[in-house]
């Protein structure tokens, strides 16, 4: 089937639609699809001091899988991202639930606005301020000491994975609350009454009706937190300490410090694959909620 026949088979609507979407589609194709392909290509090449050796090789991948440094970073990244995701979503759900079910309708927009404001503070400064809060002489420690609750500054919360989790849970709060809130808002309240009418109590109604119907929002929230977290190198660098560094820091180092683009590309590809795989598994596991 030639191009002509396809073109004549498209009606005018289809042609207009394709024409209209094409600037955006071409932009994404040129600036995302092509660059991603380049990254994948690079991951099969190697850096030879200042030049790039363009012969196809799996050396980078071999190295990435055998060198314990990379393996540790990758696993730690996935684990931290996972913990951040769980913590963020679990902390956020009650808030979304509260705003959706207990805040009077005319005040809902205000609550949502209140929740989103902190998000518009400079990201770098928010992370930095967490360092200030959690630090040895930080706000938390000085506060607790002056209250007499502790004698010595507590140290297990800065420069480690805990700090990364706290900071990221804060950074992604609005992103998790909003999708869950939207899903909860969509629930027809008469469904809950129907459930009570059919003999369920509040708690069982929550688990049999509310939660399943809110799942699309929870799933969206989970992905919205999990995926970008893997790619964050600011938080680990500022509050993570040596044991809180993640794979993104290594990618950044490979590209900008060690000038080893192929190795950086390999790690980027691996990180992307890992994230995609986990996300897909997660979505598949929950597909019955998504229909």
């Amino acid at each position: 089937m030639g191009v002509r026949t396809i073109a004549t088979r498209l009606d005018s609507d289809a042609k207009r639609g394709l024409l209209l979407v094409s600037p955006t589609a071409v932009y994404v194709l040129l600036l995302l699809a092509a660059p991603l392909a380049a990254v994948v290509t690079f991951s099969f090449w190697t850096q030879d001091f200042l030049t790039i050796d363009r012969s196809f090789t799996l050396d980078n991948y071999r190295e990435a899988f055998t060198d314990p440094l990379y393996r540790v970073l990758m696993i730690r990244s996935l684990v931290i991202s996972g913990i951040v995701t769980v913590v963020t979503v679990v902390l956020a759900f009650p808030i979304a639930y509260f705003v959706s079910f207990y805040v009077p309708p005319e005040r809902k927009a205000l609550w949502i606005f209140l929740i989103t404001i902190p998000f518009w503070t400079s990201y770098l400064l928010r992370v930095f301020l967490w360092k200030v809060i959690l630090g040895f002489n930080g706000v938390l420690n000085s506060g607790l000491i002056s209250l007499g609750l502790i004698d010595e500054p507590i140290t297990f919360i800065l420069y480690n994975a805990n700090a990364v989790v706290i900071t990221l849970a804060h950074a992604f709060a609005p992103f998790t609350i909003l999708p869950i809130y939207v899903a909860l808002e969509k629930i027809d309240r008469s469904l809950l009454e129907a459930s009570r009418d059919l003999g369920e109590n509040r708690v069982t109604t929550f688990f049999r009706v509310t939660l399943p119907l809110a799942m699309p929002g929870v799933i969206a929230a989970t992905l919205i937190v999990f995926i970008p977290t893997i790619g964050d190198y600011v938080t680990p660098r500022l509050v993570g300490g040596p044991n809180g560094l993640m794979i993104a820091n290594m990618i950044q180092t490979q590209f900008l410090k060690l000038n080893n683009a192929p190795m950086g590309a390999t790690l980027a590809v691996l990180a992307m694959c890992a994230v995609t795989a986990i996300s897909l598994i997660f979505v598949l596991m929950n597909r019955r909620y998504l229909r």
Binding site: L31, L32, A38, L129
Partner: protein, 269 residues
Amino acid sequence: MKGGWLRIYAIGYLVFLYLPVVLLPMFAFNEGTVIAFPLKGFTTEWFVQLAGIEALHGALLNSVFIALVTASLSVIFGICAARASTRFRFPFKGPIMGAIMVPLVLPEIIVAVSLLVVVVQVLDLPLSAWTVIAGHTLICTPFAIAILSSAFQGLDQSLEEAAVDLGETRWGAFKNIILPLVSPGIVASFLICFTISLDEFIIAFFLTGAEPTLPVYIWSQLRFPTKIPAVMALGTLMLVASLIILSVAEYYRRRGVERVGGKDSGGFL
């Protein structure tokens, strides 16, 4: 009071959310040069200092330029895609729209790295404001599409047909009927994209050239303890600016909802 425990939890959560935000102006007006408690006296010195930092002004201008261009491009791309997807049926619509929204679910570092590889290694071009714009447009466009789609979706298709029926050309109907009706959505998405671009660091750090953006500049300053009070002052100003911009955006978004006679479902994103 309804939702007793939940309400207490919600207030606690808000405290958690606002902790860093509240500290920002506190340290910005604090006389002490060390960012720690207890606070010293009140001062506006740090704000005054900002006025004298040339590099900061350069970075600010650079960032504003990038944000303006990014927002313009994203809104134009957003209008095209949102209009196409809400008004027309065309083959491969799902996959095409999906591909356009992908940057929303891609770790930013991947976007940064892939553009870096292409620009530096493949094309061998210098990094500049334009490379940052390229990256920012990529991540902002899906946001613009999301906002604009809901604006376009709220429109009754027969409005456009009515205009054509009354003698307008297709373009005339789009210009005189559709655009005015979605203009609040356009303003809102422009402001959102502007704000996202202005604050974006992860991509900018990879793609910025000799002229840093504002967040890249701030990053460079965070290493020097003596510079930090001024950075706090800067952050405070940026927060205020963001809030003003967002309030305007929210105002326009609501007006848009009213205009097409819809029901407000609250909040952004």
